[in-house]
Assembly symmetry: C2
Homo-oligomer: 211 residues x 2
DNA sequence: GCGGAGGTAAACCGATCGGTTTACCTGACT
DNA sequence: AGTCAGGTAAACCGATCGGTTTACCTCCGC
């Protein structure tokens, strides 16, 4: 753990070309068809790799599932803040206004993200449905992801002058989850804007001037 | 469709004792472990029935999955309105107040329901995660369930003097889904009260006196 | 020039998958 | 007395599951 690249980037770069293809194929298949419905043989075939290579790199299907979820989580953690920084730069000089803009920008980001990556609903919620065992390594990643997002929302809310920002963060988390689920079931036409309007209301209720 | 019992009750009563046990066992196992993780052999064993009986009564696993979801849907459709009628009777003589009480009572009902039947999140959302094929008979039942609940919420909202009641109903649906998902992941301590508070805000925003 | 990492190809393992078949038994209704 | 629905018990089917093994090949760095 000395000098040079560390953490997520290092782990990603450390992947063998074959392993990279395996993980990509697994990600696509697990999300689109469900984890238990996809066998390792199919993954190996899609990745143009033998099963031996798959097991040499990942050890087990369980571990591959965890790797899939971990990478999905990392992508989200890298992408979301970048997106919010963009929105913040576009805002005015007023720090309070910027903080509020960042909170609401999470919904604009969600809109883009769900279109691109979540047509079948939240990958973590779907995975949790298939992994009832709480000790499964994938379940641990899911718990970490939900925890991270909650804490991130708290940060954003605390940056505003909202009363009870932690409570506000929980409300926003609920709105995000609801929008993703409804989007996956297409039970409602435009769930994200719906959630955003509810979020605006939650902000104004707390005395914030939400444009 | 002449005299005597009809519809759901008839379908339920029509079940053979063996078939009844199969459906009960399947419901428990499908919900707790996931649909694809449960084999027909295990279901038959739990129901103390041979596989032949299972296939004689249900024809296929697909059909059994659909029957499981259909019964879950029927239970919910029977239970929820009964619950709301209770809440309405407890309300005062003012019809507007009663209508509002019924809307909010959906969240009190949800609280009870999730404790009793949904510790692992919404059974329909979980099932949808495992059934990517939109033509699967189970998927059809899921679509019907979401549709029914949406329409039911619209009814409730239209009974109030809320402006744009259909839109309000969509918001409430989103809050319900969000609360169920968060409850299943226990990412938040008390998701249902959280959703209920957001619902109250949605009502007051529309000029309704939500107690 | 040699060893080890990364890989292919393919056979193999026991277990389980969804589903079928044959033979026999039981109790209720006609 | 006879029929038939609802069942048990158990063998059987081909396919697939997650996972392992053996043998061989290739390229890169020391």
């Amino acid at each position: 753990m000395g000098s040079g690249a560390t953490g997520a980037a290092a782990r990603r770069a450390a992947l063998t070309p074959g392993a990279r293809r395996v993980l990509d194929a697994a990600a696509e298949l697990f999300y689109e068809r469900g984890i238990n419905a996809v066998g390792v043989d199919l993954i190996a075939q899609r990745a143009q790799v033998t099963k031996k290579t798959l097991y040499d790199r990942f050890g087990s299907k369980e571990a591959l599932v965890a790797a899939y979820l971990r990478e999905r989580d990392e992508r989200w953690r890298r992408w979301l803040p970048a997106r919010l920084d963009e929105a913040a730069r576009a805002g005015g000089p007023d720090p309070e206004a910027v903080a509020i803009a960042r909170v609401l920008a999470t919904f604009d980001a969600l809109e883009v993200w769900t279109c691109r990556e979540n047509p079948r609903g939240c990958g973590f919620v779907n995975a949790a449905a298939e992994l009832p065992d709480l000790t499964h390594p994938g379940r641990v990643v899911i718990a970490e992801q939900k925890r991270w997002f909650r804490d991130y929302l708290r940060e954003l809310c605390r940056a505003t002058s909202a009363s009870d920002p932690d409570d506000l963060a929980d409300e926003l988390a609920l709105l995000h989850e609801g929008a993703m689920v409804l989007g996956g079931l297409d039970a409602v036409a435009e769930p994200v804007p719906l959630a955003r309007r509810l979020a605006v209301r939650a902000l104004t209720q707390r005395g914030l001037p939400a444009a």
